[in-house]
Symmetry: C2
Subunit: 173 residues, 2 copies
């Protein structure tokens, strides 16, 4: 995926000193790049009978609905605390410092529905693992987890043990 | 669009007493409903040579990229303050109480590019008008503004004077 990598902007020292941030906005705003990105993610899950694609707020919202449209699936938002208007299920998960919470509507998926979890980036895997837990609680069948970018050196896959993980673009450092 | 309306959940007294909230998550999670929604928005702007669809954080991120994919356009995020990693242009706009700020990357669009602004909901129009201003500052040509839902009684169109406004689903109260 070197052609897509060339469209990603590398921003040094963001969000803090010593961190190299991979900025996907330059890829997203490129017609052909964006189209290829969604096509290739879609190709991977075509024929897997995905019922809904669940996207994690906020950057997961950029990829999951386009992928859902590509796959003929529905879209379900997994949101930060206190953003959803109806009854929610919740999961609290560990961050480097402290904890965070994700929420989903209790009727977001039906028992047995085939769900693909989608986010922009697989880093340490904490958020994605929390989303897997949340959707499993609701009785969904987790078909896989899809990411535009994977930071392999953070070993997020290990936290998603048992879930099929696919990333389109990988970085080793 | 009565068929899509039937998939929207009405939540009374959210986010506060006396407000009836139109919850689109029940429409989005419905395969056919979500597909139709994006198709119909896309049909409206097909052939208008849209270069990029700009989506407003956070719920605009759900619609704009799917629509961009449908139209063969790129996607540009318009974000709340301090979320973008690179150099930004900013606009401050009035809310009912106080002000808020939107940001966009300075290189998000090229001068003269044809931009469609997209959000989930047209209410009072303040946020969308701010997005129009921001993209105009960057030299974009504003081709229109697309919304899944319009609350007509809030007269948001008046704030978008000079911009072609399209909404798929309207409510009169």
């Amino acid at each position: 995926m070197e052609d897509l990598k060339r469209l990603i902007r590398e921003v040094p020292d963001y969000p803090k000193a010593g961190i190299l941030f991979y900025d996907l906005t330059t890829l997203l705003q490129d017609k052909k790049g964006f189209h290829d990105l969604i096509e290739r993610l879609g190709d991977k899950f075509e024929g897997k009978k995905i019922d809904v694609v669940a996207g994690i707020e906020a950057r997961g919202f950029i990829f999951a609905p386009a992928l859902a449209y590509r796959l003929g699936a529905g879209f379900v938002p997994v949101r930060k605390a206190n953003k959803l208007p109806w009854k929610t299920a919740q999961v609290t998960y560990q961050l480097e410092y402290g904890t965070d919470k994700l929420e989903i509507h209790q009727d977001a998926v039906k028992r047995g529905e085939r769900v693909l979890i989608c986010d922009d980036l697989l880093a340490t895997g904490g958020t994605a693992a929390a989303a897997v837990q949340l959707l499993s609680q609701l009785g969904a069948e987790i078909t896989g987890a899809a990411f535009a970018v994977e930071l392999k050196f953070l070993k997020g896959r290990e936290k998603l043990n048992g879930t099929e993980v696919f990333s389109l673009i990988q970085y080793d450092k």
